[in-house]
């Protein structure tokens, strides 16, 4: 999956979808994930990246990551 080309993220975590005019705010982890998604990634790679970087229970990380990615898909911010 990959961030759509019409979506811009600022350093502050403000996301603007130029195609729909919608905007969103991200927390620091969200910014990090979306920055990772500027290059095409599979879920497993993202999971491994976050799991290595942060001290977190794998189950919690998996659940939160899946929730977040499904939100991004629902809002049309990322492509499959």
């Amino acid at each position: 999956m990959k961030l759509k080309s019409n979506v811009a993220i600022s350093d502050s975590g403000f996301v603007f979808d130029a195609n729909t005019g919608e905007s969103y705010s991200l927390n620091p982890i969200g910014i990090e994930i979306l920055n990772e998604l500027k290059q095409s990634k599979i879920t497993e790679d993202l999971f491994a990246y976050l799991n290595n970087k942060y001290e977190v229970a794998e189950f919690t990380l998996e659940q939160n990551l899946m929730d977040f990615l499904s939100q991004l898909k629902q809002y049309g911010i990322i492509d499959e």
Partner: protein, 349 residues
């Protein structure tokens, strides 16, 4: 050097149901090409645009088109004798018919316009939307013009509730049952006359395009906007320019096929499946035109250039992510201003 020019403009009602007059004037005032004397044409004494400092040089009262087309035209000619109007920009749907059929008479007197043809104007009327969609291969919601209560009882055969009840010029209300349709029918028909239009309600995001056609099939400008803040009258109180290529494609195709002449606004619904339904075409510059100007396309200026017979190069870009936010602002006027307009039918601030 700027060209000195006199431009007469209607639609000065900057209310919660705003006319395009004031933003059109702002575009002309900001033009590098024109040094304009702006003549405001007002139907009502309290149209706010009349009283805003720096907008209008002189305002004249004019009679409503419903008082008779000839009366309106005679008043325009009377004002023309005093002001030598070069270009007239009408901004109300309800007056356009009069000016379209009268444009040769205006031209004979030296008053230039840049309006759609009568055929272009009539075929996009709300009552003709299904045929329009079929002719130009654009998805449109099912619509039907009704003229009596009797028609309301039969709506269930063709429409699911909720549905939209619309006036032929302005106003649209959502109705969830026949009783609400009757209420809206009464309100709308009293204000705008018959027919009243019943339209299928398409769920999605409302997106609009402002565009300008040169009358030869070329799109001179087009800017898509998504409404961000909508009033209870359905008017955009805030909006943002978006990069919607599909909307731009629909717009340029439509202008190319219809050879649209003048300003227009396409109102569309984008569904969650990504389909676009055309719900209305307004045959004039919309009230949110200042957003297009702010995004880099001064369409009022381009329209005046074309009215003067000058060749205008199409705009090739606009800024994405430009926003407009309307606001209300209390001005202090004086009863003497109101008196001048009421008694003399004219006012110079």
């Amino acid at each position: 050097m700027k060209t000195k020019i006199t431009i007469a403009i209607t639609g000065l009602n900057n209310t919660d149901n705003p006319g395009p007059g004031v933003p059109v004037i702002r575009g002309i005032r900001e033009s590098e090409a024109f040094d304009a004397r702006i003549i405001g044409l007002a139907y009502e004494n309290l149209e706010p645009g009349i009283y805003i400092p720096g907008i209008i040089d002189k305002t004249y009262q004019i009679p409503y088109p419903s008082a008779g087309s000839d009366e309106l035209m005679q008043r325009i000619f009377q004002i023309h004798e005093l002001e030598h109007i070069d270009v007239l920009i009408p901004n109300f749907d309800a007056e356009l018919f009069t000016f379209i059929i009268g444009k040769e008479r205006l031209a004979e007197k030296g008053i230039r316009t840049f309006l759609p043809t009568l055929q272009q104007f009539e075929e996009r009327e709300k009552t003709n939307l299904p045929e329009y969609g079929e002719k130009y291969k654009i998805k449109v919601p099912n619509s039907k013009a009704i003229t009596s209560y009797h028609d309301i009882n039969n709506l269930r055969q063709e429409f699911d509730y909720p549905l939209l009840v619309k006036g032929k010029f302005y106003d649209a209300y959502l109705a969830y049952n026949p009783e609400q349709v009757i209420n809206h029918f009464n309100k709308i028909s009293a204000k705008w006359g018959l027919p009243v239009i019943i339209q299928e309600f398409v769920k999605g995001t409302e997106v609009n395009v402002i565009a300008l056609g040169d009358g030869n099939g070329n799109t001179i400008g087009a800017v898509p906007m998504r409404k961000q803040y909508i009033t209870d009258k359905g008017k955009a109180w805030g909006g943002i320019t978006v990069s919607d290529q599909k909307m731009l494609d629909i717009t340029t195709k439509l202008i190319s096929e219809t050879k649209w002449r003048g300003g227009m606004e396409l109102e569309m619904i984008k569904t969650s499946q990504g389909d676009y339904y055309l719900i209305e075409i307004n045959p004039r510059i919309p009230a949110w035109v200042y957003l297009a100007i702010g995004a880099g396309q001064n369409m009022p200026e381009a329209l005046v250039q074309m009215a003067l017979g000058k060749e205008v190069k199409p705009f090739t870009k606009y800024d994405i992510g430009k926003m407009f936010i309307r606001y209300s602002w209390d001005m202090i006027g004086d009863i003497s201003q109101f008196e001048q307009l009421s008694i003399n039918g004219e006012l110079e601030l």
